[in-house]
Subunit: 221 residues, 2 copies
């Protein structure tokens, strides 16, 4: 899905505000990743991230910020595949259909329990426009804030960089690369559920994340 | 703590009913363990179990039944140390002070999530007379029945047979054998807590058991 250096002009038009914001994003990412990637690579990943998020985004004001965060995740993943940080803490990628409920919840629990002792990413095969309100509410009840999260697709670079890929409901559309550990969790989609029903999903995901961290030898906080 | 074959007469007197019940227990245990232990060993473990439980038991009617269950656990452990079942599923021993709350809860969660894929035991450094009512209530809320459980001491045979010993609050009185994996969980004693407070303890124990099963490579149900 990434465009290469000689790709045609952007297929998504940016507003002037978005353009300014994207410049600032590129500068921040260059500060962080400039020792590992050249400016062209960083800009290409940032632009591609913007393009991938734009069609489903319902929040044009936040789009540059979300694209920057998506690009950061992908650059971290690229650095890992390049071997620079592999061998450190394990990286887990949670995938579901919309990246709006299950995979967001799982990532929230991974961050809570593993802290810096694991890297977590999430994505969906058909990203929704926003994180599901019922998922946000169920997670808020246990003190985990998903309001800053956003649905996004998975990208090959992130899948390749993950030590474990956990799939929830994406079925045949989930990516498979040889040599990666996969787990398929049968967990109902909270989309359209009441908060009471979503709590059951939330608790099941929490249990599985805790168990997963154990299998990875990651101590829990 | 075990008496040997030439030990003096029982220091705890049995009632006639208890004596009859003990005969039936010995027969059942001989059926189960007769191919691995001789009748004398089985009777000795059963009698010692009775003696260890009698001082703290508030339910004399149930004492023979509890002694039989305690003896069964110890004979299973002895068989494991003897190498007959080692190498199969992992065995975890949960220890706390009274074997009335934390270690009982942990064992309940181990049984729920591991099923037959792990062996679990529990014990206390100073066994109480009964499982804490607040622990029973908090666990009943999540569908785990502790009403059939009973506080008991740890015994060397069980400690030696465990692959992992989890200690909660027994401090210096907890047993330590070289070569055994130990984990110390800092978890408050629910003794004297309200049910609301005990729920927090329960949930923390659940999280740790799930993580532990992951570290042991035990799939969760």
């Amino acid at each position: 899905m990434t465009t290469d250096a000689g790709a045609p002009a952007p297929s998504i038009l940016m507003t002037l505000d978005q353009h300014h914001a994207a410049r600032a994003s590129a500068a921040r990412l260059a500060d962080e990743f400039g020792d590992r990637f050249d400016a062209e690579t960083i800009e290409r990943v940032l632009h591609d991230s913007f393009e991938q998020l734009a069609p489903s985004s319902r929040l044009p004001h936040f789009l540059p910020l979300l694209a920057e965060r998506f690009a950061r995740q992908r650059l971290q993943a690229l650095a890992r595949v390049g071997g620079e940080t592999r061998g450190g803490v394990p990286a887990v990628l949670f995938l579901c259909v919309q990246n709006a409920g299950r995979s967001q919840m799982a990532l929230g629990f991974l961050h809570r329990y593993a802290g810096d002792a694991a890297i977590g990413w999430s994505g969906g095969s058909h990203p929704a426009g926003e994180v599901s309100p019922v998922a946000i509410e169920a997670m808020a009840e246990v003190g985990i804030d998903l309001t800053r999260e956003f649905p996004k697709p998975w990208t090959d670079d992130v899948v390749r960089a993950a030590d474990v890929v956990v799939t929830m409901g994406c079925g045949d559309t989930c990516p498979v690369f040889p040599g990666t550990r996969y787990e398929d969790w049968e967990i109902a989609d909270p989309d359209g559920m009441s908060v009471a029903e979503a709590r059951v999903v939330r608790d099941e995901i929490e249990r599985r994340v805790l168990h997963l961290l154990g299998t990875l030898g990651v101590a829990i906080a």
